[in-house]
């Protein structure tokens, strides 16, 4: 047995879940849903969409469990499913003219999500996230997902490439082009990119 097999704390639960044990899968969900929520929170601006994405991620993980290879860290595998769900969400949104993001209001509150923030600082942070998501929503789905992960999640480009199945060179080229398009977009909206 390799070291990664011993190190993965989820292995016994995964084995049980692979055998169809839903209780074990519940435990896996309980362990990782906060991590997946934190990641997918960068992609969407409403709680309903966030819940849908987290749910979609775990349902896909359940279906894909038989294909999971113990050599790969489970969290990494789960993150891959999550970011692909995020990309698919952006593609669906791009095809639907009704689901365009609304511009955040001047006070930073997202008009589609009226949950009150705990503090003024939290309110401003949520407003900043909404504004960044609104700006990125003008880009193509792939650029949008790539820049969301790069700028809002600060995920290394090599990891993004792995998740989307790109080579590192290809990822670099895509990131360069996406940044160029972002620059043009930001200029149009009066932003400067240092």
């Amino acid at each position: 047995m390799s070291a990664s097999l011993i190190a993965d704390p989820d292995l016994s639960l995964i084995r049980q879940a692979q055998a169809g044990d839903m209780e074990a899968f519940d435990q896996i969900v309980l362990r990782h849903q906060s991590t997946m929520t934190a990641l997918l929170h960068r992609f969407v601006h409403t709680r309903a969409d966030l819940e849908d994405l987290v749910q979609e991620t775990f349902v896909k993980a359940w279906r894909g469990l038989p294909a999971w290879e113990p050599e790969k860290p489970f969290v990494h595998w789960l993150k891959r499913i999550a970011v692909r769900c995020g990309l698919e969400f952006y593609r669906r949104q791009q095809r639907s003219p009704l689901s365009r993001l609304a511009q955040p209001t001047a006070d930073g509150r997202d008009p589609l999500d009226d949950l009150p923030a705990d503090t003024l600082e939290a309110d401003q942070q949520r407003g900043a996230l909404g504004e960044a998501q609104f700006l990125l929503s003008h880009l193509q789905a792939e650029d949008r997902a790539l820049l969301t992960l790069l700028h809002l999640e600060q995920m290394p480009l090599a990891e993004i490439a792995q998740h989307f199945g790109w080579t590192r060179i290809n990822a670099k080229v895509k990131a360069f082009r996406a940044r160029q398009r972002l620059k043009t977009l930001l200029k149009r909206h009066g932003y400067e990119l240092t």
């Binding site: 698919e88 593609r91 996230l129 504004e131 193509q140 700028h151 932003y191």
Partner: protein, 103 residues
Amino acid sequence: MNSPDSPKNWDRLTAQARQAAAPADIDLRHAIRAEIATQAARPRTMPHVGLLDELLALGGARWLQAGLACILAGAAWSCWQGVTIVHELTILWSFQGPSLAQL
């Protein structure tokens, strides 16, 4: 978010956006379990939807659209040239036809 008196800066905006906390009270175990049970109960429908998504996304790619436009332009040019060649062959046949008929 950027304050009104300072110039809008993307890096500052994203730095602040990264501080936004995700909702901590999300627990979707029941919803996930229900969705898995629902999917297990109904037959798997449209496994090609993912592929369709990919194809539709590909259709929006500028390089593909430019490539298809080039192919269409090339095909149109070939057809136009083809018409000229056929026309020339017709003329040649009209000259050669009678002598060939005599063979």
